[in-house]
């Protein structure tokens, strides 16, 4: 946990207008570290710069200022060679929002193979990687299906398998659950958790669902192109007013604790971001008073 995998300092990015004259700053100096094996959630409302930040991490967009080091590779201040870019992208995979727009092939297993094929992975390792990746997301029985017939959650799991097959060190989920129904969202979140816990993959989950963010080890809150705050879910959700002020909210269980405290009920403890922690805290208080 002590090794910083991603190190950003004063990272800036501006979008240009179509005519190239006006610049719209999307990131105005972001400094964060993300550590190996960590599960980080990046919260922020639409337009807060969180997706832009994600796209810089594997150079889909090039930063216009600041320093960025990923996996020991310096990405800023020089032209990257094609090999370096490939190296970066095999290490830092990305799963996007719309599941339909990231599947390339018309058969599940061929889609999953797309990444490793591009990397020139030879047989029989290629086949093994594809099978393992499909198994990791629990889709083995769908290996020969057509992706467009699958549900949203299943498509997204296939997209994840396609990234896993490249054996990345880190996966960025760019609002990957936003278009899914509750079941699909759960499928994807379970998969994310598994990748982080069992495969040791560093996970960055960009989201605007508070309940999702509560599952992470650490939350980075972005607003107006800057990091507003960072900390454990409990630390972040303890600052309800600040979150509401930037168009976010806290999970229901945290809201409950906040409201009870506001009414003068003494509740000891800091665990407020998950129902389990919240129950523990309430239980202590209830026991003390009955």
């Amino acid at each position: 946990m002590s090794n910083s995998y991603i190190h950003a300092e004063g990272l800036c990015f501006s979008y240009r207008d179509n005519d190239g004259k006006e610049e719209h700053p999307a990131l105005k100096g972001v400094s964060v570290d993300i550590y190996e094996g960590e599960y980080v959630a990046v919260l922020g409302h639409n337009g807060s710069g969180k997706s832009t930040f994600a796209k810089l991490l594997n150079m889909i967009l090039e930063p216009t200022g600041g320093t960025l080091v990923v996996g020991g590779m310096e990405l800023t201040g020089k032209e990257l060679t094609d090999d370096e870019l490939l190296q970066l992208r095999r290490n830092v995979g990305m799963v996007f929002q719309n599941p339909d727009n990231q599947l390339v092939a018309t058969i599940v297993e061929e889609d999953v193979a797309f990444g490793p094929e591009n990397l020139g992975v030879p047989q029989p390792e290629l086949r093994k990687r594809v099978e393992d990746a499909i198994a990791a997301v629990g889709m083995t029985s769908y290996a020969h299906h057509e992706p467009h017939r699958l549900s949203g959650g299943q498509k997204q799991r296939i997209a994840i398998a396609g990234i896993i097959a490249m054996m990345p060190k880190c996966i960025i989920f760019d609002e990957s659950t936003a278009m899914l129904d509750p079941n699909g969202r759960k499928e994807v979140l379970d998969t994310i958790r598994l990748l982080n816990r069992d495969y040791g993959i560093t996970v960055i989950n960009i989201t605007h669902y508070m309940n999702e963010a509560a599952e992470a080890d650490r939350i980075i809150v972005m607003n107006d192109g800057l990091v507003l705050m960072e900390g454990t879910p409990d630390e972040v959700f303890a600052k309800r007013e600040e979150l509401v002020a930037v168009g976010l909210e806290v999970p229901q269980c945290a809201a409950l604790i906040h409201e009870l405290r506001r009414r003068g009920v003494l509740l000891e403890g800091t665990g407020i971001s998950t129902p389990e922690a919240c129950v523990e805290l309430l239980q202590r208080a209830l026991k003390a008073r009955t």
Binding site: I60, I107, A159
Partner: protein
């Protein structure tokens, strides 16, 4: 809409379905050649017999095959009429004093023409569209044409484009339907009015469709870059096509058919094309 497979692919387990798609492309070519080799009634009979065998082997229902001939009925009728009336020969069938003259040769020509077109359509259909998915065809063409890469023909890129197009056809079809419904719900009318009014009524569908297709294209391009796509160079393939014994057997069989047809041409029973 989702459930409709586009193209004519008919999923089944058959000898022909199992052939390597490259074999099938080659077989289709051989078969076209075969149809042009026929000259005599006997060899045409053998050709028709062979197409019947193919239909049985491929396990495709006859009604499907007949349906696929429907769109070309007009062409068949037209060309056969031209053959009947325009061919001059020695055996006049109509009375001398008629303005329109029909010769026996014309009738034979028309018959052979009809057989040739139908066998050609059915035969290539069985090898290609009925038993091979569009994506397998794309793969086959890419690999068959890969020698052209040496003279800088971007074979891989065309195959990739084809694959993506095939992948997105169902997605965009669904999307079109969705947009049409949304605009209908706002009172758009696509079915009445003048031609100009109808063309104008398409704007509310086409604009959103293009916008969304472009957005999808941008997303897909990013996603492909993220998955290290950098053209066909140094790519490996998960499913490499391999010829098996059955492929060689089938190719041998069709070549043998061709030879047989040539031999049968010399059999002078009935009419022989000049």
């Amino acid at each position: 809409m989702k459930s409709v497979t586009f193209g004519q692919y008919y999923p089944a387990e058959s000898l022909i379905h199992r052939l390597d798609p490259r074999t099938k492309v080659l077989l289709a070519l051989f078969y076209i050649v075969c149809t042009f080799l026929c000259k005599s009634l006997v060899s045409f009979a053998a050709l028709v017999a062979s197409v019947c065998v193919l239909v049985l082997l491929s396990r495709i229902p006859m009604r499907l095959i007949l349906r696929s001939l429907r769109p070309i009925l007009f062409i068949i009728a037209f060309t056969s009429l031209i053959n009947v009336f325009m061919t001059k020969g020695e055996h006049l069938l109509t009375p001398e004093n008629w303005a329109v003259k029909i010769y026996a040769e014309g009738l034979w020509n028309a018959l052979f023409m009809i057989l040739r077109i139908m066998v050609l359509i059915v035969g290539t259909g069985i090898f290609l569209t009925y038993t091979t998915t569009p994506i397998a065809l794309t793969d086959a063409l890419e690999q068959l044409l890969s020698p052209l890469k040496k003279i800088k023909v971007p074979v891989h890129d065309f195959a990739m484009m084809m694959t993506i197009a095939l992948r997105f056809i169902p997605t965009l079809t669904e999307e079109t339907e969705k947009i049409m419904n949304a605009q209908k719900a706002r009172g758009a009318d696509f079915t009445s009015g003048s031609l100009l009014a109808r063309a104008k009524a398409l704007v509310p569908i086409l604009v959103p469709l293009f916008v969304s297709a472009f957005n999808r294209a941008f997303d897909l391009a990013s996603a492909m870059e993220c998955r290290c796509y950098h053209g066909g160079e140094g790519r490996t393939r998960l499913n490499v096509l391999r010829y098996r014994a059955i492929d060689w057997v089938m190719m041998g069989a069709v070549i043998a058919l061709g030879v047989t047809l040539i031999l049968l041409n010399s059999c002078s029973f009935g009419f022989v094309l000049g």
